[in-house]
């Protein structure tokens, strides 16, 4: 009796054993045939085909099929992109289709130090195309399209000091010009009307950012921000600059690259170190040393660098002191000096003492982002819904007539938090004048007031 009952179990045994066996095989099969192996085998095939001698062929055949990775513990990255992109460092693969293709530009960003995802983003951990390129759920940094790759440069480089990334540089310039920091804080400086922008690129997608510039309230309901009215290309440039603001901290090593020259850093140094005390530029400056704007016609970069290092060695008896400059600073200054042959650049040099109060005031106006609300040159016209002043921020042109110096100062320092509404039923106007007390320095205030008063159109003195 009991034996027949037992025998009824036998088919179950067979079936369950087969099932477990098949499942284990399926489980491992899916594991064994990963897509990166296809590309590595493809690479080995190409290597074998290219080999000319038997020894080379043998060596090619013995290339192991294995995960390859660039480990960068100091930036919390493990980039396994090279598992599929096996030939990134082999120039003979240039121009071949991805993923087995060459990647130029090794010298500036050595791959073993930078990996891939610092610039390209995406998911370095992954070894499948979809996951690695970041087009999967739960990975919020997909690969940057090449059109937007410049956004990554700003992780290390200063966006204004990067001729290789023109869109980023343009975006940064627009950001200054449009006075965005009048409302938004960035790197600890700026107004408090809008949100901080230090990590805006990590928070929002490029699409969101673009939409937001065109119509802020459409993607961020209730936003007080007026639409940014610039050309489409400039919207893209601004978006790119926002994308670059990720707040990501890279290491000393990576960041040190950004102080390597760039005429912009050189110009800053030139302005700060007071070179014009002795040298003339554009006809202005001291007479102790020779005029310096034509130095590029007289000397080459090597000479200038050596001269900064030790002036006596090249010009015995010169009075030029040996400045305590770092090697990076010397190279930056040299780059700047060589660019001085361009008269446009000379016009841009801002030595505060050379400027009139109105000129300085204009730069103060730019520095604090006043243009964000008051418009470029204070011409007004930025929409402020339901404000009694024609639902716009009024022009500053006639401020000189309506206010005394003292009144103007107090208005800037204290701000005006309540804006009179046009219609008390509707929501109050979103934009207001913040108080700048403690932010704008006293000297700056003098210049700013001078600038605002200068806005009064000449001969337009209405004289009530």
């Amino acid at each position: 009796m009991s034996d027949t009952r037992l025998q009824r179990l036998y088919p179950w045994f067979t079936a369950s054993s087969l099932l477990v066996g098949i499942l284990v095989v399926v489980g491992f099969y899916r594991d064994r045939f990963r897509e990166w192996k296809v590309w590595q085998r493809d690479y080995i095939r190409q290597e074998t085909a290219r080999a000319t001698t038997p020894q080379e062929k043998d060596a090619a055949r013995r290339i192991p099929v294995a995960i390859k990775q660039i480990v960068l513990p100091e930036v919390q990255r493990v980039d396994r992109c090279v598992t599929c992109h096996v030939a990134v460092d082999d120039p003979s693969y240039s121009g071949l289709p991805q993923p087995v293709s060459y990647h130029p530009n090794h010298d500036q960003h050595p791959f073993d130090k930078f990996g891939c995802t610092i610039c390209h983003q995406g998911q370095g951990f992954a070894t499948t195309k979809q996951a690695a390129h970041g087009n999967v759920k739960h990975w919020d940094r997909p690969m940057l399209p090449m059109l937007q790759i410049e956004a990554s440069c700003a992780k290390c480089h200063h966006p204004a000091d990067l001729p290789q990334a023109p869109k980023l540089t343009r975006g940064h310039a627009l950001f200054q010009e449009l006075g965005c920091i009048g409302c938004h804080k960035l790197h600890g400086r700026g107004g408090a009307i809008g949100p901080e922008l230090d990590k805006v690129g990590a928070k929002h997608s490029p699409q969101w950012l673009t939409m937001h510039f065109k119509d802020p309230a459409a993607v961020s309901p209730g936003s007080a921000m007026p639409p940014v009215i610039v050309e489409e290309a400039d919207i893209q440039a601004l978006t790119l600059y926002m994308m670059s603001l990720t707040g990501e901290q890279l290491t000393e090593y990576h960041v040190s690259m950004k102080t390597i020259p760039g005429p912009r850093v050189g110009r800053q140094l030139f302005e700060e170190k007071g070179c014009v005390g002795c040298h003339k530029v554009g006809g202005k400056g001291g007479d102790v040393g020779p005029p310096i704007d034509d130095v590029a016609t007289r000397r080459d970069a090597e000479w200038i660098v050596a001269h900064f290092r030790d002036p006596q060695a090249l010009s015995p008896g010169t009075v030029m002191p040996k400045f305590d400059l770092t090697e990076h600073e010397i190279r930056a200054l040299t780059e700047f000096l060589l660019s001085l042959t361009d008269p446009g650049i000379v016009g841009y040099i801002k030595i505060p003492t050379w400027m009139t109060p109105v000129e300085r005031g204009k730069s103060v106006f730019g520095k604090y982002g006043c243009a964000g609300c008051h418009g470029r040159d204070g011409q007004g016209g930025v929409p402020n819904p339901n404000a009694k002043t024609a639902e716009q921020i009024p022009s500053l042109k006639y401020a000189a007539e309506g206010y005394t110096d003292t009144e103007l100062r107090s208005r800037i320092l204290n701000g005006q938090h309540e804006i009179t509404p046009m219609d008390t039923e509707r929501p109050p106007p979103p934009l207001y004048m913040p108080g700048w007390n403690g932010k704008i320095a006293a000297g700056e205030m003098d210049d700013l007031v001078a600038y605002i008063k200068s806005l009064l159109p000449e001969g337009d003195d209405l004289d009530f």
Partner: protein
Amino acid sequence: MLTRTWRKFCSSRIGRSIFRVGLPGSDLERARVGVSSFLLHIQPVKVQSRSLKFRTTFGLGLILLYLFLILIVTGVLLMFYYVPSPELAYRSMKDLEFVVTAGMLLRNMHRWAAHLMVLGVVLHMCRVFYTGAYKPPREFNWVIGVVLFLLTLGLSFTGYLLPWDQLAFWAITVGANISSYAPFVGEKVRFVLLGGNVVGPSALLRFYVLHVVLLPAGMAFLVAIHLWRVRKDGGLARPAEPDLIEEEFAEFELPPEKTYGLMELARGSSAAVGTAQEDTVFSWPHLVFREILLLMLTVAGVLVLAIFWNAPLEEFANPAHPPNPAKAPWYFLGLQELVAHSAFWGGVVVPTLLLVALIMLPYIDTKPDGVGVWFSSQRKTAILIFSICLITMTVLTVIGSVFRGPNWDFTVPWHPNVEEH
């Protein structure tokens, strides 16, 4: 052929030293297999054929044991790759998925087996309740079972944090907050559990140690006692049939060839040595074969889940970005649902009452009626009360899992907003 080779090996010196009896051919040898092997410590020489019927238990206890074993094996293998430090923990999840051979399979098996175990413990508890199997002499084994239930939840909960992704981080944050509603000690419990006031690296380390050392050790210890008690309490609970046994005992004659004697001491009328005319069969092969079969099916079930469904892994944990809604692990969603209505009642009173009631159950309901029978008509009140509690918790858990959207507002799973999250 195979059998002959096996027999030959068993009769060799080495074979005998390992198996003692070899492949048993006679009842005597079958008995000797039971007595002389380690298995005796877990199961008797003979078992009631009633116990072998699938519908008696649905094999739930054994399935749980196997799931626990699967969890230990996969868990130990996962430990080779896992580092309990936030950055590295998350990275080791990625390594398992993208680099380690069969790493994802391993993690999936561990994850699904863990969920199945929570579910299985509840079902096992229902089985024991609805068959009245907690009644004397098995009262204390029920209490151990309740503790095992809590340990299972604890193991699952501590394991939940280890991937250190958004899902883990916020589920544990919510779960730990529920624990802090307990009066007087709640905040302290949470502090001790997390090693701080918020979920952070020290919480990860504590959860890890609890998950891989303390809780499994406690679990293994109690499982051993739990099984040993099942055996000592006379196997599975079954209806007492005193009249039948006495009647048959009168007619029963000791078979002349029966030479084996007392092999164990067990309480109750179940082992019934000397009244052997019961419907019993030898554990080898009848029980052992079924046990192996169930093991195969359990492994197969877990493998199917692990091959076709991946364990979730969201973004790296970001304490500044709570998902909306942040949900506890699913088995705590009934509680979270209650807490959403009232922190005090849902977080303190109800769970405490339920737990006390569960532990006290065998000491309150001591009537020996309906033991070993599914839904005995003699236990209508008890079954009604238990069922109401069970259904309520199930409904609350389902509501909490599926019908709660952003801000814990009521939503339906097919609502498009749910997809977005």
